[in-house]
Symmetry: D2
Subunit: 346 residues, 4 copies
């Protein structure tokens, strides 16, 4: 069965990725694209300054862009993907949910709200049942589901895999690509021959979202995971792919081989956009991997890649990497959409 | 009083920095330049492929390069600066010390040897007295003094400043410039639009050298500092300047303002190449600093620059930065040379 | 019909591209991989430090690498692709041709030899008949066919398309990617925040090869095209994709629209690796294209992309771009191999 | 004698360079800084987001920024340096000149106006006498003097030096640094691992401004130089320093050695900011120079650097380079200010 879907904020960087990823999708058909009022009424090919290195999919070129306004969304659309700026999203997403739409949103607003599922389908699919609580509390017919921040999503699958050893604390330093800030977010003067050890709000997102994703939902309430998380976030001159150094303190004392095995065997999900293997791990013979340019497109950009596992005085140390605008943004929302479809929420 | 000095490995990247930094030096005069046999006999301007953005100092252009051989060093040279590859250094430095020369070496061999002072003049000048032990044990008339690795030297001054709060553990992630690997160490294919989460041997150097630098020397024996250190080292596409994210766990519980004050007030040394202030700290209003391209030349490349201080579940978090081929290599050996001169070892 | 092919120099950068491009090829099956003596005897996966962002094709992983020695090539191999260093190629290619092998070579030696076809299949397929002359003169059973240099190959298709207007002179400035120099050819210290206005021998290659490619072969002798060509070659910090600024002086006085039409309608070849359209041209509304990162993979890396056409006091000005290691190297030799197969030379 | 000067647009990228270059200037003292209304009333250190790698000069830190409004400029200011956006400059510069101020402007408006001197002091100081014509025609007490575009200024000194051989035509391709577009002009997504073969309006500026600079002023009218100029402009991932490939067709047929000698001996000006030698030329032994990162700071950023001279079928080919925000912008206006002072116009 095919669902008709819409994309809110379809002309932006993440919006373009949605369109690229939805091209030929087995379950979803693009029925509606929205953007700012200035773009409304134009065919998509004119409204969007297309920046990906593949062409605009043919069926999308001539779709007329609509204003991002609940009144403009057709009734027969089942699911909306949102990559709106968080301020706009905070205003419009509740209206859409109240109007009965199910929204899978990449925007950062409301991620930590008690009744909003923050979900990575391979990690915490059960959190989706928070929708019941959400509907009760808010009186919505629709639903709002969030995916985490791109830097969080890169690390959390590896922490989930290590939790069998008793995760107690994690410190992470990130080396993040410029695309994470949007097309104009980082100027060339800021980043050529340079690095910036600060991304506004990013460290807090990693420290809180990680604990929610790894937390327990007992059917009524969601409790955060007990592990402490501390993050240090940096921007570096790479286009795509967030690389992260993690120190994980574990109650047990696993050998590197055990750590690698736990990651490699952590199950993926049976969804169209999930990779066959969730986490690929490089061995001792390739300590220099993963690397952004070499590894970001593994699993069509949806796999998490790890390596450099070793034991240190501060716990197990390893590196992980994921494509920040695919696995970390548009692909994350899309995957949540697939989970919503599979579980019958749409 | 002026000392006549020599540079071993004078044509390499660090050797060129030595020459640049010694230009107009108040205490030292270049009397001897050595390089590989292939360069011996040529004037320096022909032997060296000069790569710095200032010109070769005039007095050096026509100095005839000598082979790196103890027999070639003039007797009236008091001090030798060494930036030889560590394999070559391990062979030749002991011979030079036995022959009576005092060697201030940037090479990584023997840094952790029990009787070799590993010194940052502003941090542990007293360790220089290990030379007595060294001479006793090895029967040398000369002496061998080392400076730490460039990534270690960037962090240790900040840890020294925080030790008043009881340093218990430090985790560090580095974002290191390509010049740290030498002129041909990192290819452009490896690093453009990329990052490499591994630098051979670097993490171990940071984990061991830091504890030696912060350790106690009781006049007979040097004991390592009790703090645990764990490092994760990355190469990124910057030319000069290592940026590091540090999480420091401290017995006391200082506020960020106390941390900044401790760093800013940590004393510098009274040596020609020491900066007026050892550590410059950016405040809360500029969390995006320090940055490599903007801050590496502070204090003529000899100052350590910190910022981004905040409290996390994993201790105090901050960022620090230093110029890796000035403060972290040639400038470090030069500073040790100045300390050796001041303390009367030459 | 499938031909068994070999790759000489299979572990290098171009050799890896050959393997990637031959994966699933409809006509060619890899039967033999050669490399230096140090690699001989090892399975390919161990011999090669694989650097492409796709995995080593499964059938190739376990092929045992042979020494690059005529005695090692199996008899049933029909065609050899060569990406040997030109010095090695100059020694070994003639022996292989004498031994009866047909060699499609990317190496720069002998490209301008009177009896060696220098071929781009879409441009001058008829030059292949020089093989008759070659066999007569050299007494070979095999044959040696060359493709031009990567910077030449980017420009010549556009000049061929403009020759209907009477090409009289061309000036070109190139902005070339670092991969053109091989994996270790350009160090990061040389190119970050920099550009190098010199590539050894490159300008002469463009100036001579272009005229041979556009020249006439009358069945006995090949005459160079009469147009003058002047080149200025630069290396810039891009990974793949050579961008070139061309000023073409034409006897006629075509309008930009005519120039674009001539390029867009220039025929491609009916070969498996030829793109559907040989030259894609961006219009007036996108003067900022083509760009290396955005356009190098058009036509799977085999299309030439042009744009920015305008009339100047120095003739028609435009920009063109091609993927230097696909269309400009491995793909070029492969395409010549396909032409050799189609024309019955193997 | 010291002149009191003002800077219009003092908080922008070029404005910051003005402040840096005026620090310690022998003739000029900063008396007034203007910026947008939003900055007016604030001390400079708060109004400007300072982005240079040296600190804000002490005397400037606390100057109160004024609105860019003729009414706000103190009467005792003799000279105004302008780096306003060209639209703003076109409105306000005439008012200032009418009010009696002499304006040395880097803004692109009015550069080609018949009665506006477009001046490089070492090249065409005599054009300054156009001010008489300007005052006659416009009834101004003040005066408006322009410097050319940064890409023009890099090439024109070399063309001026070659005009003794009879300059007939010049083609140029540029590799321009991102700082030329202002701090936010080029995003990192646009330029990392990329190049952009288009800069709006730049080619026309080079083609027209060059001929005006090299033209004759007979005391009444200025005639353009007869040489044709054709330009192709590219943006590449460098921070500072425009590199340019020039093909110059000359009536005479000079040898490369003559070309180098003509450039090296071309006279500089006797002004505080002029370099001792106007053009430094690299010889045959260093064809890979000049390079942006290595050579942009020669002569404190005010020298033009050339190299790679050779004879081609399209005339003499060479490369040239200058620092685009020093020699090419703020330093150019400053130099014009020095000429205005020396010639008694202020």
């Amino acid at each position: 069965m095919t669902h008709r879907v819409g994309i809110l904020g379809a002309t932006g960087a993440v919006g373009q990725r949605f369109i690229q990823l939805l091209d030929g999708h087995p379950q979803f058909e693009i029925a509606c694209l929205t953007a700012s009022d200035a773009s409304a009424g134009k065919p998509y090919r004119e409204a969007a300054k297309w920046r990906l290195d593949s062409a605009i999919p043919k069926p999308v070129r001539d779709i007329t862009v609509r204003a991002t306004d609940p009144a403009e969304i057709p009734d027969d659309v089942d699911l909306l993907f949102s990559s709106l700026p968080s301020g706009v999203a905070a205003e419009i997403e509740p209206d859409l949910c109240a109007a009965g739409y199910v929204v899978s949103s990449n925007s950062s607003n409301d991620r930590m709200a008690d009744d909003v599922p923050l979900t990575i389908p391979e990690i915490n699919p059960g959190h989706l049942d928070l929708i019941e609580v959400q509907r009760d509390e808010r009186g919505w017919d629709g639903a709002l589901v969030k995916n985490p921040n791109c830097s969080t999503i890169t690390m959390v699958p590896t922490l989930a895999a290590l939790d069998e050893f008793g995760l107690e604390r994690a410190q992470v330093s990130t080396l993040q690509a410029v695309s994470g800030a949007g097309y104009s977010g980082v100027t060339s003067m800021e980043i050529i021959d340079n690095a910036i050890p600060h991304i506004g709000g990013e460290e807090e997102k990693m420290e809180t979202e990680s604990r929610k994703l790894l937390g327990d939902f007992d059917g009524a309430e969601l409790s955060l995971h007990s592990a402490e998380v501390a993050a240090s976030c940096n921007r570096i001159p790479t286009i795509d792919g967030h690389l992260e150094n993690v120190f994980a303190e574990l109650a047990d004392d696993p050998e590197p081989a055990d750590v690698r095995a736990a990651m490699e065997s952590y199950p993926s999900a049976d969804l169209p956009s999930s990779p066959d293997q969730l986490i690929h791990v490089f061995g001792d013979d390739q300590p220099e991997r993963p690397q952004p340019r070499m590894d970001r497109m593994r699993g069509d950009g949806m796999q998490v890649v790890a390596g450099g596992v070793r034991t240190t005085p501060a716990g197990v140390k390893y590196n992980c990497l994921a494509h920040n605008t695919i696995r970390g943004a548009a692909g994350a929302s899309l995957l949540n959409g697939e989970l919503l479809a599979n579980e019958g929420w749409i």
